[in-house]
Amino acid sequence: MSQKLLLDYGSGGKASQRLISGMFLKYLGNDRLNRLDDAAFLELSGPISMSTDTFTVDPLFFPGGDIGSLAVHGTVNDVAMLGARPRFITCGLILEEGLDMDVLERIIASVGRAARNAGVEVVTGDTKVVPRGAADKIFINTTGVGEIFVTPGPSGHSAKPGDAILISGTMGDHGLTILSKREGLSFDAPVESDSAALNHLIVRLLQEIPEIHVLRDPTRGGLATTLSEIALQSNVECFIREKDIPVREAVAGGCSFLGLDPLYLANEGKFICILPEKFADKALEIMRSDVLATNAQQIGEVRKDHPGKVVLETPIGGHRLLDMLEGAQLPRIC
C-alpha cells in the first residue's frame, strides 16, 4: 500500500520540510526556489503580465495530461496572451489528507516537466494539507509573471471592425476528454486533451506580425463564451462561420448523444487571435507551421452591426446568436 499524506505534512514542521526537500525541490528545484525564503527574488524588468488560476480538474489524470501539466499550461498561456514572455510561476497546493503520496509525486513531477518545456521556473510555493473530506484530493493554484515585449499588447478590448478572427485548432478536445472520464458518465472517446503551453508560438506570432489586437485562450465556457466576452469588451460583433470551425469527429460524436455543444467546451491548448485582415494569412501560415496549431483557421471577422454579440452563420447559411450560457452545460436527453 502506498504511503498516504498526513496533516503533519502541512504543519510547517519537519514533515513539511521533508515534503519540500524530498519532493518539491527534487522535481521543481532551481536557484530561486531552493532559497526557500518567504518570497522569491526575481530579476524582471517591467512592464509585467501577471495571471493566476486555480485548477480543480476531476479526474486528476486524463488522456493528454494531468492536473499538474494543466496548471502550468493554463497560467503560462494566460500570461502570454497579454504579449508577454512567461518567466516565473508560483505553485500553491491544497492537499487532502490521505492523498496517495505516489499520486502527489506523479503530479509534482508533471508540474516540473511542463514548466521546463514551457521555459518557466517555479520560484516559490505553498502547501496546505486539509483534513480528509475538506478538499477533493488536490487543488493547484499557479500564478505567473512574464515580461511584456509588445506595447500596446493584445487585449480583449482591442478588437476592431474589419479584423479577422482566427483560432489555432479544433474546439472542445479538452472538455470532451474530461467528460468522457467523469465518474458515472464514462464512455470511450478517441480524443485527448489539447493541454499545451502556447507561449513559444505566441512569442513568434507577436514577433513576426506587426499588429495583433486580441489574443485569448478559449478555456472554461469555450469559444462561444470567450468570443462573447471579447464582443462585450470591445463593443463589436464577432461574426463567425460554423463550417470553418474545426471540431474533431469524436468531439462532435460525444456531444451528439450528451446533448452538448462543442463551442461551449473548454480548450486548454488553443487560442483566438484577432488581427487586421491583411495579416491573417501570414498569421495562419505561422500558426500552421507549429504542431500546436496545424488546424488553425480563420473562422470569421469582427463587425459592428450587433455590438456585444456573437453571430454564427450556420452551415446552411442561416444566422443566429451564439449566446453566453447561464451556467455549465449538463448532459441532457431532451
Binding site: 468522457s180 464512455f187 470511450d188 472517446a189 478517441p190 480524443v191 474533431r248 469527429e249 469524436a250 468531439v251 462532435a252 460524436g253 460525444g254 451528439s256 448523444f257 446533448g259 441532457r332 436527453i333 431532451c334
Partner: protein, 75 residues
C-alpha cells in the same frame, strides 16, 4: 422533445450493444428495439436504449427522390 442519435453497432452481447458515433464508444440496451439488431446496423439511441434501427438506404433513397423531384420541377 427527445434527443436521440444514430449510432453504429460494433458488437452485441446479452441485450447490450457496443455502439459508436464519430469513434466515440458507448453501451446501449436492446430491450426496446423491435427488429433483431445486428453488427453494422445504425440504431437510434435515446437515454441509453436503442429504440429503432435507422434505415439508411431508405433515407438516402427518399432524399434522392425528393431532390430529383425538386430539380425536375425547378428546371
Amino acid at each position: 422533445m427527445c434527443l436521440a442519435v444514430p449510432m453504429e453497432i460494433k458488437s452485441i452481447s446479452n441485450n447490450v450493444a457496443q455502439v459508436e458515433v464519430g469513434g466515440v464508444a458507448n453501451e446501449v440496451r436492446l430491450e426496446l428495439i423491435d427488429e433483431e439488431p445486428k453488427v453494422g446496423d445504425f440504431v437510434i439511441v435515446h437515454a441509453g436504449f436503442a429504440l429503432r434501427r435507422l434505415d439508411r438506404e431508405e433515407g438516402l433513397e427518399t432524399i434522392k427522390l425528393f431532390e430529383e423531384g425538386l430539380n425536375l420541377e425547378l428546371t
